[in-house]
């Protein structure tokens, strides 16, 4: 039976290791050593697009519907139904999309990487790579990070389109308190290009952390089939909390001091 402080203690144990491992992998990408295996990086990007894009978009769509619904009813309750666009603009771009992206990446991509690399580690394939003279960290982890950096910004931008249309659908078509023109006027007024950049930065920081954590837990898996399952579960716990912490810090840094709204002094 585990103790009450098991989770924080295991994080304290492994936080430094995850950090140094992540820096090592990111260094491999930054120093350009990964470009020896550029083809593998492109293949990982392709796997991300063909394997995960659809589920990311579906998740974004559901969260967009939810944002619009909550916003429409909240604005009806305070007697300003025409301002539903304000709520959806903030909820979609600034908070909802980074969180939706983080959740579904942690679930689909992060645990997927752990399962894949963990199975390789258990069946001694990683040791075999090393014997063959291929750097396993570069070939397996750095290429995945490169693939994520190639593919995910574009998936994020398409996700914005999806989440916007979902909010439009639920505010204008489902609840129907405000006309489409009135909704879109407020909706576009309460966002600006810098907001888009900040939101993208938030999402990409989450994606980077998720890929690195997944690589760490998969690369260090041990203990047979049970070990792979346990490592997958552990990476999910770490990623969920990391996503929330990054989301909060991003909001504090980007919008904490200045709400960036077109009203007030």
């Amino acid at each position: 039976m585990i103790g009450w402080l098991e989770v924080p203690r295991s994080w304290l144990d492994s936080f430094g290791e995850i950090g140094s491992f992540g820096l090592k992998v990111a260094g491999q990408v930054y120093s350009g050593r990964v470009f020896k295996y550029f083809g593998e990086g492109l293949r990982q990007a392709g796997i991300l697009i063909f394997g995960s894009a659809l589920i990311i978009f579906a998740f974004c769509f559901i969260l967009g519907l939810q944002c619009g619904l909550q916003g429409a009813y909240f604005n009806r309750s305070i007697g300003a139904p025409s301002l539903a666009g304000l709520f959806s603009a903030y909820c979609d771009l600034r908070e909802g999309l980074p969180y939706a992206f983080g959740y579904i990446l942690a679930a689909k991509v992060g645990t997927g990487i752990v399962a894949e690399l963990g199975a390789m580690r258990i069946s001694d394939e990683i040791d075999a790579l090393e014997v063959m003279g291929i750097q396993p960290v570069t070939f397996l982890c750095a290429t995945r990070l490169l693939g994520a950096w190639i593919a995910l910004p574009f998936l994020y931008l398409v996700g914005i389109v999806i989440i916007y249309s979902a909010s439009f659908f639920s505010v204008v078509n489902q609840v129907g308190d405000v006309s489409s023109g009135g909704y879109l006027l407020i909706f576009w007024m309460y966002q600006s290009p810098p907001d888009l950049i900040f939101s993208l930065i938030k999402g990409m920081v989450m994606a980077t952390v998720i890929v690195l954590v997944g690589c760490y837990y998969g690369y260090t898996a041990s203990g047979g089939p049970v070990g792979v399952g346990t490592a997958t579960a552990k990476s999910m716990v770490f990623n969920i909390v990391a996503v929330h912490i990054i989301g909060m810090l991003g909001t504090i840094v980007f919008w904490g001091a200045n709400p960036r709204a077109p009203i007030g002094g």
Binding site: M1, V7, Y73, R76, Y99, Y103, P225, G229, I240, T251
Partner: protein
């Protein structure tokens, strides 16, 4: 031509098949939970404590961070521009109680306890322990799935209350950050909160627990393919639970708002 159509529709067919099998497992679990004998008492307590010990810390951090960032700072920013920071309490009823409380509890429980359940059951399946249990005359659904199902149902309802408490304290922190007195926050909070908000939040959250438990148990019990299989089962279980939970939340809140006009009243 017919072959191409069939191949194209194969994913759809697979989805429907999976959903159907999960429904069957749900009904089986419910039936064997109420039909005597009840051999799962000890396992139920063990699972309950296991899930609680694993998920209390991630839950506390996650709900505080999410509520402080998303509704706290963003809404406080807008409200401070229009000079109505005391209205943050009413906003937190909508966000922290109706929406973020259940959804974050479900995400954390799916990520923490659901993955542990799938990894555990999947490992047992791979080592053929489940088949051995069946040969011994022990029903795996009754002895393994039912205690996890009941434990998750109870614990998501309870953790939802903690999520609401942590969410409201995040709102208080955001209010204090803007140097506001807390009287306005609590006044609008208590005048806007209704019993319907609280019970719907807790009920929805227990249903999330049921969804997570069934999906994760099913994926664990149908794992196959050695070491990679268990990891893949955990991966699929988390993805399916998250999508199912978010979709369910959307349907439930649509129905809840449309059928309870008192939630939309101005107070």
């Amino acid at each position: 031509m017919a072959g191409a159509l069939e191949r194209g529709l194969l994913p759809v067919k697979n989805v429907f098949e999976e959903v159907g099998v999960m429904m069957i497992l749900t009904v089986k679990t419910l039936v064997s939970a109420v039909r005597p004998p009840y051999p799962y008492g000890e396992e139920l307590v063990w699972q309950f404590l296991f899930v609680l010990k694993l998920s209390w810390f991630p839950l506390v951090i996650s709900t505080f961070a999410l509520n402080f960032g998303a509704p706290g700072l963003q809404a406080a920013g807008i409200l401070s521009l229009i000079g109505g920071l005391d209205r943050l309490g009413g906003f937190f009823v909508v966000i922290a109680i109706r929406w973020i409380g259940p959804i974050v509890t479900a995400v954390v429980v799916a990520g923490v306890a659901g993955t542990a359940i799938t990894a555990d059951l999947g490992a047992r399946k791979i080592r053929e322990e489940l088949d051995a249990l069946q040969v011994l005359g022990v029903d795996p659904v009754k002895n393994l799935v039912v205690p996890r199902f009941l434990a998750l149902i109870v614990i998501t309802g309870l953790l939802d209350l903690f999520a609401i408490v942590m969410g409201l304290s995040a709102g208080i922190a955001a209010e204090l950050l803007y140097h506001q007195s807390l009287g306005g926050f609590f006044a609008t909070l208590f005048s806007n909160a209704t019993i319907t908000d609280l019970w719907s939040s807790v009920m929805v959250c227990t249903m999330f627990g049921a969804i997570v438990a069934v999906v994760c148990s099913y994926k664990g019990m149908s794992a196959s393919g050695g070491a990679a299989g268990v990891g893949r089962a955990v991966n699929q279980a988390v993805v399916i639970s998250l999508v199912a939970v978010f979709f369910f939340q959307f349907v439930v809140s649509s129905i809840l708002f449309a059928t309870n006009p008192e939630l939309q009243a101005v107070r």
